[in-house]
Symmetry: none
Subunit: 144 residues, 2 copies
DNA sequence: AGTCTAGTGGGATATTGTGGGAAATAAATT
DNA sequence: AATTTATTTCCCACAATATCCCACTAGACT
């Protein structure tokens, strides 16, 4: 289970170290893909296999499926984790998410996400503001 | 599995190098065929065989099948991958997809696609704009 | 204090992508 | 039919870039 928030560096070679707490679960190669709200998703290869098999399932409408497949597969990349626990972020994905040197890595259950620092802080603020709605949700889940 | 986005050059001899990550799977000859949405599709010979057998499957409506078969078979070409990992793009297919010197090659699971740069960026933008649909899809897949 | 580890930086090496020329093939003109 | 011209294929070379490897620093823990 991937949890927690970490501030890491994307160096000028587009390398980023995975939080050490994620490494065991991540294994020696991961998939970097575009995520929602302008973040990047990092999946384990296992998770990725699930995703791709669901996508190749033709139960989805053909045209939707086509554009979505292109979007995901076309931009995702399988990257090896190097000897220092770092991965390489492709330039196009880096640009898409507006990542600069300082990035935020967060764990979200079965995936990790990479955020532009400001975007993440803004996002958190917005969510925080919706505290009532949040409490409601948590209540529904039975957490509070 | 073919994934990722690469910017390549279509030189004045209509040669284009395949991304090195695709080469192993592509083997030493591939099929270049017209794709949907004005791109070009590149299939492995294996995939091509699957496609052609599906097309000859009579479960498809006869007229649809006939026109689509013409569309595909009529313009598809088997091309060899040269010693440098390059393939030759036939002039007519190049023109059809509005390809110039700078092209985008993307992997889409079982096939690769060649796009005019602008066309691909526009396409991505359209998909990205439909954030709701995107989230929906991801939800269906079980990512969210 | 000393050791260990996580995170980061930088240089050397290997590979990729691309351009261009030579050789081979095809087309054309006389 | 023969020579020239055009076109295609093959091969080599180079530059840019990615990959690998090692080193350093700061902090945690003993």
């Amino acid at each position: 289970m991937l949890i927690g928030e970490y501030t890491h560096t994307l160096d000028d070679k587009n390398r980023m170290s995975l939080p050490v707490k994620f490494r065991k679960e991540m294994g020696k190669s991961v998939v970097v893909a575009p995520g929602l709200d302008n973040c990047l998703s990092i999946f384990t290869t296992k998770e990725w296999d699930k995703i791709s098999s669901k996508l190749s399932d033709s139960s989805m409408l053909a045209t939707d499926n086509r554009s979505f497949s292109r979007f995901m597969f076309g931009q995702a990349v399988i990257v090896d984790v190097d000897a220092n626990g770092r991965i390489l972020i492709p330039e196009n994905l880096k640009n898409r998410s507006g990542l600069s040197t300082k990035v935020i890595v967060i764990g979200v259950q079965n995936r990790a996400e990479i955020w532009n620092e400001k975007a993440w802080n803004d996002y958190k603020k917005v969510v925080e503001k919706q505290a009532d709605a949040l409490a409601d949700k948590l209540g529904q889940i039975g957490v509070l």
